[in-house]
């Protein structure tokens, strides 16, 4: 096999102890849908695996004290089928709904999705759009920081998975005027990485005819999940209209600078961004809310 020992940790404390005991030779397994591929192709090796899938407190979706908390080992399937998320956080529920295949979604977890630090990981894109905070525990104690600070480079995350553990992601509880959407474009309908994916979160104004606040995350447009901040700034305070959305799409088109890849050229990705920005807003607010 690819490792010498495989532990099912029963608690967060035990996980940290195991990591400490093996001094860098142990890695966390949280679903393994990416990890196993990396093992198979010899991109990665580890002597000891610490499976955190049986630690109950890491697997939850709950709202508490004005915040939503998502446990790190919550599976994509659990997120996609959660009625609560479907109602209040479309961006997350539908964002993870097209990851891989049913089998991959049953095994793969949101914590693993983020820890892999891919610039177009659907879960990461959705959480960035929600302005999530990543919570965890390191040998020095618990920490929490903005999720965006976690991503350093493709495949490179600020966390040390041989010493630290993600416990949960939190973001503000839903407000009555909050809307969100997730859009994705790939070369096939399943088992395909996106050519472009986009998470959008909006807060409408009191009259609900304009936008008070916006967050837009797009992948794979940069080395990390990309925040379309210029478009966000333009949308803040803008009234909802076809013309505004067209202009917003144009701005997004301008501010992304993707690279050519075999999945799609930079020029095509830019075209997609323009189209999907508008589609995402329409999906989030409903077509009828947008004036001509």
């Amino acid at each position: 096999m690819y490792w010498e020992k495989y532990y099912f940790a029963q608690s967060i404390e035990e996980t940290l102890e195991l990591l400490k005991h093996y001094e860098g030779d142990a890695r966390i397994m949280a679903g393994g849908t990416d990890l196993m591929v990396q093992f198979k192709y010899n991109y990665l090796s580890a002597k000891v695996m610490v499976d955190i899938g049986r630690i109950k407190e890491l697997n939850h979706i709950r709202q508490e004290n004005g915040h939503v908390s998502i446990g790190a080992t919550t599976t994509h399937t659990a997120l996609a089928t959660s009625p609560y998320l479907q109602k209040h956080f479309q961006v997350l529920a539908s964002g993870v709904r097209t990851i891989g295949s049913p089998q991959i979604r049953n095994a793969g977890t949101i914590g693993g999705n983020v820890a892999n630090a891919q610039p177009a990981a659907d879960g990461s894109i959705a959480l960035v759009a929600l302005g999530a905070t990543i919570c965890g525990i390191s040998p020095d104690g618990p920490f929490s920081r903005p999720i965006e600070s976690t991503f350093l480079n493709p495949g490179e995350c600020a966390l040390n998975s041989t010493a630290e553990l993600i416990t949960s992601f939190t973001f503000p509880a839903p407000g009555p005027r909050d809307r969100s959407a997730f859009v994705r474009h790939s070369r096939r309908a399943a088992l395909a990485l996106p050519i472009m994916n986009m998470g959008l979160w909006l807060r409408l104004n009191e009259e609900e005819d304009g936008i008070e606040d916006a967050r837009i995350a797009i992948g794979p447009m940069a080395r990390v999940p990309f925040r379309a901040k210029k478009t966000e700034a333009f949308l803040r305070g803008a009234k909802l209209s076809e013309a505004v959305l067209d202009e917003a799409g144009e701005l997004t088109f301008e501010e992304v600078s993707p690279r050519d890849s075999f999945r799609g050229s930079a020029a095509y990705k830019k075209e997609l961004v323009r189209v999907y920005l508008k589609r995402a807003v329409l999906e989030a607010v409903g077509e009828r809310s947008v004036g001509k």
């Binding site: 070369r187 399943a190 088992l191 075999f262 020029a267 095509y268 189209v275």
Partner: protein
């Protein structure tokens, strides 16, 4: 005629064991002492082999044998041209080319040894595009040749230039088809074991057991009789599983080590060293009268053969002229070059060149109709062949329901209504497109010595029948089709008939599954064997029961002795008959040799006993902002001669349409400087079930009852794919006005065409 089994739906007889995982494939075989074979493959598209040092690899614990070009014979052999060696000692010619092979007691040991084999290469300039490879200054793949052109096919008939001069419409355009992977579920695989009498037994995942045997005997320097080939269940072939290098390497290693050797490709190896579809650049020039009647056709094809010849030349020649039996054109000129490149060797893929040509021809006709205000349905009706037609190349059309296919597809799809009413107002536009198709059911020149088939049907003392054939079921349902044919002809329930796995020690010689021939030609042999068996059966019953032969009726497993007014189960009857013969089974033997000819040096002569036809109509929705194409509806009307198994036919049509849609819209082997960028199913966009228009593919079957096929049946495997890419391309054009002539019709190309820039 009233049938008991033919024309009904018979679930595949091996379906249950396959879906429950009980069926055993070559990849499942394990034996005492079996070694694992692995192949060292070239990392360079073109390089001279300076030195191979295996000394470190030999020291790896568990390694039992290592072969390289320096310790195997260097004689040349091949499928069509003599450009294969067991392993080369001069050059490698593509990324994935076989350099050495190791057999070891474990896969891990074999892989470790591969890493320790030191090969010194001198990298050479390489050429990847088949057209560039024709240029005089292109690097030469084979230094003993003057250029990289492996073969040139030429045919000219009628007065081509005169006919163009008489034409009212002259159309000329270029099309390009892609190299795509067959993506059979089971990878290329062999297990080879030494056997008594100094023989070798080869369990192969193959569509051509008997032909492989001949070729491998040639490669190994033995008689065919020294090789026993067994073909168990095969997990798909689609043209890929012809003669294959790794089978030979496994055999050499088995001989050298005296132990069984298992050689199974990883998926990556299948991608970089399988035998994908021949890519073609096709220039089509057509001359037509005002009403759309085709007067002249001039075609030039440049086909990529890859680094050695598998069946590329035959595929190119097929692309050059097979379609001349779909339309009644009398003035034709074709030239087809099959050109070596430093790319993966290419070969058969469902459609065998005819699919490539359909992509060009059926789009060309569509464009001509659009530009000249002609009705694409009428133009196809005017030009389509009919029963009794003899093509300009001497191909004799017997059964033909092409016109009826057009009628039924047009009616079922609501073609004329949809042409007028499909919504093109928004960003998502609907369109409808049509393509016709023809094919063969057997291709006389493919195996030059002969075409034909023979079969045995054995009736056991229990009254059950076993069909022995050399034709290969690959999962397409051939074994079930043969059981249906035998059961119907003898008068048995289909559950009491099975088709044995091919075993060259027992089965008759059979050319195999290609050219959509197996059901028609192999099935006809099974039919003849079954008829022969029944004659024997009746005559023995007459003797044993003292009944007149004309009073004996065998049906559904029961024997009616009408003179005696008695009906007995076949079990009871066969017990008596068999015991009266000392326990013998009755064995019917039958052959079918089609009345075809090897085309003469001018390529004239009827190549196939039966020709299937089809008309496909695709209805699509194109998202013009993103380029995504959604198949809304698909109608496939096929002249199948006779329906043998309704549900298996539907399965073949649905599989062909989905495979064709994948080729048309999604699949792409992306190659950079000779290296495949996406050698994984994850990045190779084969359609998943989420991408397939399941439930929207409407099969329509026309029964023209062919005089040569068993019960009149013709083939379906390839015709179900041939017209798909063109029908979809035409529908996309109808929806958007974008005409994409280079496969795949990917979303970026559609958007690029609509905004008029390259994306």
């Amino acid at each position: 005629m009233e049938f008991d089994i033919v024309g009904k739906s018979t679930p595949l007889l091996d379906g249950l064991e396959k879906v429950t995982g009980r069926a055993r494939y070559v990849t499942d075989i394990r034996m005492e002492g079996m070694l694992h074979g692995k192949i060292l493959r070239s990392p360079h598209p073109h390089a001279r082999i300076v030195k191979i040092d295996t000394s470190k690899a030999e020291k790896v614990s568990g390694v039992r044998g290592i072969i390289t070009g320096f310790n195997v014979p260097q004689h040349k052999f091949g499928t069509m041209l003599q450009d294969w060696v067991i392993l080369p000692n001069d050059k490698v010619r593509f990324v994935g080319d076989e350099v050495a092979a190791v057999a070891a007691t474990s896969e891990a040991a074999a892989l470790e040894a591969l890493e320790l084999i030191e090969v010194e290469y001198e990298v050479l300039p390489a050429v990847f595009d088949q057209e560039e490879a024709m240029s005089p200054d292109a690097p030469l793949l084979y230094e003993d040749k003057d250029d990289n052109i492996a073969t040139t096919f030429q045919v000219e008939r009628g007065d081509v230039d005169g006919a163009f001069a008489e034409s009212d419409i002259i159309f000329e355009d270029d099309y390009e088809t892609s190299q795509v992977y067959q993506a059979h579920l089971e990878p290329m695989a062999a297990v080879v074991a030494p056997a008594d009498y100094d023989r070798l037994t080869l369990w192969l995942s193959t569509q051509v057991p008997s032909m492989s045997r001949l070729r491998y005997a040639e490669a190994l320097g033995v008689c065919a009789e020294d090789l026993r080939i067994i073909k168990p269940h095969v997990g798909g072939g689609f043209g890929a599983k012809f003669e294959y290098k790794s089978h030979i390497l496994a055999a050499v290693l088995a001989r050298r080590t005296g132990l069984p050797v298992r050689m199974v490709n990883t998926r990556d190896e299948d991608f970089i060293a399988g035998n994908p579809r021949v890519p073609m650049k096709i220039r089509v020039k057509l001359g037509l009268k005002k009403d759309g009647a085709i007067l002249a056709k001039d075609v030039r094809i440049i086909a990529g053969n890859g680094a050695r010849t598998v069946y590329g030349p035959a595929i190119t020649s097929t692309a050059c002229y097979r379609i001349d039996s779909l339309y009644k054109v009398r003035n034709v000129r074709s030239v087809g070059y099959t050109v070596y490149t430093n790319m993966i060797p290419t070969s058969c893929f469902r459609g065998f060149g005819n699919a490539q040509m359909h992509f060009a021809m059926e789009q060309a006709l569509d464009a001509i109709c659009h530009e000249n205000g002609l009705d694409p349905v009428e133009v196809r009706r005017i030009n389509g062949v009919y029963p009794g037609y003899v093509s300009i190349h001497g191909w004799e059309i017997k059964s033909c329901a092409l016109q009826e296919c057009v009628d039924q597809a047009v009616e079922a799809s609501g073609w004329y209504e949809k042409k007028k009413t499909l919504d093109k107002s928004g960003a998502k536009k609907r369109g409808i497109g049509m393509a016709l198709c023809n094919h063969v059911s057997g291709n006389r020149p493919f195996y030059r010595p002969f075409d034909g088939s023979s079969a045995l049907v054995r009736l056991t003392p229990e009254g059950k029948a076993i069909v022995f054939t050399g034709e290969a079921d690959l999962g397409q349902g051939l074994n079930t089709a043969f059981a249906i044919i035998a059961a119907e002809a003898v008068g048995l329930p289909v559950k009491d008939v099975r088709t044995a796995a091919v075993d060259t020690d027992i089965s008759p010689f059979g050319l195999g599954s290609f050219a959509t021939r197996a059901t028609t030609i192999g099935g006809r042999a099974v039919y003849e064997a079954a008829v022969n068996l029944k004659e024997q059966l009746v005559s023995h019953i007459a003797k044993v029961y003292d009944e007149k032969p004309e009073n004996i009726k065998v049906r559904k497993g029961e024997v009616a002795l009408e003179g005696k007014g008695e009906t007995l189960p076949i079990f009871d009857v066969m017990q008596k008959v068999s015991f009266s013969l000392g326990g013998a089974s009755l064995v019917g033997q039958g052959s079918y040799v089609p009345d075809t000819v090897l085309p003469d040096e001018n390529k004239y002569g009827n190549v196939s006993p039966a020709y299937p036809f089809a008309c496909h109509i695709a209805e699509v929705e194109v998202d013009t902002e993103t380029g995504s194409v959604n198949i809304i509806n698909y109608w496939a009307a096929h002249d199948v001669g006779r329906v043998l198994n309704q549900q298996a036919l539907e399965g073949q049509v649905e599989g062909g349409v989905i495979m064709g849609a994948g080729w048309a819209l999604m699949e792409e082997m992306i190659v950079k400087e000779g290296h495949l960028v996406n050698p994984k199913l994850h990045d190779y966009w084969l359609p998943t079930s989420m991408d397939t228009p399941i439930g929207k593919i409407h099969s329509i079957f026309l029964e023209s009852v062919d005089p040569n096929g068993p019960f009149g049946a013709k083939g379906i495997g390839e015709p179900s794919l041939n017209p798909v890419a063109a029908a979809i391309a035409n529908a996309i054009f109808d929806a958007t006005g974008a005409r994409i002539k280079k496969l795949p019709i990917s979303p970026d190309k559609i958007v690029g065409a609509l905004v008029n820039k390259k994306l």
